[in-house]
């Protein structure tokens, strides 16, 4: 398998006034295509910072981040936006759907920024919704959907660009157990079809669904182990 993600001596320091906070203190990690990785850690451990860096939402203070063969460390905002658009699909804890837009309109949004023509966007958005089992909810607004359904719309939006990396930040944090199961099954399925998934969570049973766990504490990776299906494979 070729490497999708390579982090090389990555540090991130936040400065607030005269106070310097080292959120990440030297991360070296390689994630291959097709892996299903969970990043686990208590709050304040630096896992959100790691998620932001992996998602190209922020740049490391030091070190190198290569995503799909492209060094992102020195890119400007517009180039980062293009990479996010092409390579990364985000799923957030708070879903982050636009309430005034119907499901398919929310899903087509990344394709709008990719500059695709409208008929193709609609076709692909509807296909992505069907993929997550919401083919009959295409014209519903987020307010008319349950939490689990909303998160599935968000997954559809993350998938619609066929990204190399699916990045999920506490995707089940706002869901009841039933919906959590639904969403995790969906992620399993996506992994089964070859998708690379990085999941950030603090829930051990969610992390257990992944094939590899990275435990992060105080800005460094303390444990890197294979789990479940991954360990037995």
């Amino acid at each position: 398998m070729s490497a999708l993600i390579e982090l090389d001596g990555v540090r991130k320091t936040y400065r607030s006034g005269s106070l310097e906070v080292e959120a990440l203190r030297g991360i070296d990690v390689r994630i291959d295509e097709g892996e299903y990785v969970a990043v686990i850690g208590p709050s304040g451990s630096g896992k959100s910072t790691l998620m932001n860096l992996l998602g190209c939402l922020d740049l490391p203070t030091e070190g190198r981040y290569v995503l799909a063969g492209e060094d992102t460390s020195s890119l400007d905002e517009a180039a980062l936006a293009a990479i996010r658009n092409r390579r990364i699909g985000f799923v957030f804890q708070q879903f982050h759907l636009l309430p005034s837009m119907t499901a398919w309109r929310n899903v087509e949004l990344p394709l709008v920024y990719a500059g695709l023509p409208r008929p193709e966007r609609r076709e692909r958005a509807i296909a992505a919704l069907a993929r997550v089992g919401l083919g009959d909810r295409v014209d519903h607004r987020p307010g008319e959907l349950s939490g689990g359904q909303q998160q599935r719309v968000a997954v559809a939006r993350a998938l619609v660009t066929e990204p190399a990396l699916l990045l999920a930040d506490e995707p089940t944090g706002n869901l009841d157990s039933g919906s959590t199961r639904d969403v995790l099954e969906l992620l399993d399925e996506l992994h089964g079809s070859g998708r690379t998934i990085v999941l950030i969570t603090h829930e051990p049973d969610v992390a257990a669904r992944a094939r590899r766990n990275l435990v992060i504490d105080d800005g460094v990776i303390t444990v890197d182990r294979l789990t479940g299906a991954g360990a037995s494979a």
Binding site: L57, D58, A78, A81, R86, V112, Y113, G115
Partner: protein, 408 residues
């Protein structure tokens, strides 16, 4: 993201906050429509003045009594003195001295009551000579003008303005009828056509024209002075020659130099110029007020766009996370602000044009909507949207996606 997509998403955002957008647009609407109306009022007034002055007759010189200086050195304004006499007017008819003039009409004015049986009508009494009809470019609707003989004799004949005739005689023909003026019976020999030049009820159609001698008899005046002498030049080309001749002749007759003349001569052009200057001042003044209201409208747009950026921080963060470059976000907010401005401009133009139809009926003042001013107002509205949208759009573009996504 294409421009069309951007416009569509801007429209969606505006629709999502209908009331707020409507109130913002209202500021621009008021500004734009008041600009159109004030400029229209100014131009309407200008047009009306030009029409009125045109109606005076073609290539006309208007001689008015000059500013008088009394013994204490106090100078009165033009028209305050009584330095022009009937004899001056007679002298001006001398073709040898004034070869470029074709008609001379002295005018005395007064106010009289005309009585026909039980009908009583107060109007202005114009005393003049037979040249008046041609010099003032007037026409007769019925009957005839008074003759030179009648003028010389001071005969008791009158020619009535169209409105005066209908007030006194209704649908009856007044020609040959008699009216009583201060106890004297006067025969109506003719009726003037309506001058039609001015939209507002003008004195042009409400007057009684009589020989100048008759006028002094009817008003009991013993003075020999006239209020104005109209001199018609043979053609527009000879207007300035006529001007020189009239000036020289009157100066000689009055024993003054042209520098301290006790009379003044105006041409139509100079009258138009003076009137337009006054109108222009008003237009600039009102236009300035309207421009300020536009500015306030523009600040309203900026205010709303800033609120909108603050309120939609999460949306902006999400759009950025999904791949919107800062320039795309900036463009989206700029387009939104421009749409607000443009909508305000379009509605403002409609309201302004509608106002231009309604206003003349309310205030008896013509409003001329100029295409140029309308286009300029639209362009201004759009520019206001863009101009006042730049800052909020820049703020939106600079938001970092993580901070934006995290905000509650």
């Amino acid at each position: 993201m294409s421009w069309w997509e951007t416009v569509r998403s801007g429209l969606a955002a505006i629709r999502a906050h209908r009331l707020r957008s409507a109130l913002t647009v209202l500021g621009i609407v008021i500004g734009i429509s008041s600009v159109i109306l004030t400029v229209g009022l100014g131009q309407g007034a200008q047009q009306e003045v030009e029409d009125r002055i045109d109606a005076l007759g073609s290539h006309l010189l208007i001689v008015s009594p000059g500013s008088s200086t009394d013994s204490s050195g106090v100078r009165g304004g033009f028209g305050s003195a009584s330095t022009l006499t009937r004899a001056d007017a007679v002298a001006l008819t001398d073709r040898a001295a004034v070869p470029d003039a074709v008609g001379v009409a002295p005018v005395t004015t007064g106010s009289v009551s005309l009585v026909n049986g039980s009908t009583n009508w107060t109007t202005s009494l114009v005393g003049t000579t037979t040249d008046w009809l041609d010099v003032r470019s007037r026409e007769l609707a019925a009957g005839r003008f008074f003759t030179a003989t009648e003028a010389a004799q001071g005969a008791a004949v009158a020619v009535l303005g169209a409105d005066t005739a209908s007030e006194l005689f209704g649908r009856q023909s007044p020609v040959g009828q008699q009216v009583t003026v201060n106890g004297t019976r006067v025969t109506v020999v003719g009726v003037l056509s309506s001058s039609g030049a001015s939209s507002s009820g003008s004195t042009e159609d409400d007057q009684a024209v009589v020989p100048v001698g008759t006028a002094s008899r009817l008003t009991g005046s013993t003075s020999d002075t006239v209020s104005t002498i109209y001199v018609e030049a043979a053609s527009a080309d000879r207007l300035s020659a006529a001007y020189q001749e009239v000036q020289t002749l009157l100066a000689t007759r009055h024993g003054v130099t042209t520098a301290d003349a006790d009379f003044s001569i105006a041409t139509q052009d100079s009258l138009v110029e003076t009137a337009n200057e006054t109108n222009r001042t008003f237009t600039v003044l009102l236009g300035g007020v309207a421009a300020i209201s536009l500015l306030v409208g523009g600040i309203g747009v900026m205010n709303i766009m800033l609120v909108s950026v603050t309120e939609r921080v999460r949306e902006i963060g999400l759009r950025k996370a999904l791949g919107a470059a800062p320039s795309v976000i900036r463009r989206q907010f700029l387009v939104e602000a421009s749409l607000l401005g443009l909508t305000g401009g379009l509605v403002g133009v409609v309201v302004g044009i509608a106002g231009a139809q309604v206003l003349p009926r309310l205030i008896d003042q013509a409003v001329a909507v100029s295409a140029l001013a309308t286009l300029a107002a639209l362009a201004t509205a759009l520019a206001l949207g863009v101009g006042f949208g730049v800052y909020p759009a820049g703020r939106a573009a600079r938001l970092t996606p993580i901070d934006a996504l995290r905000s509650e």
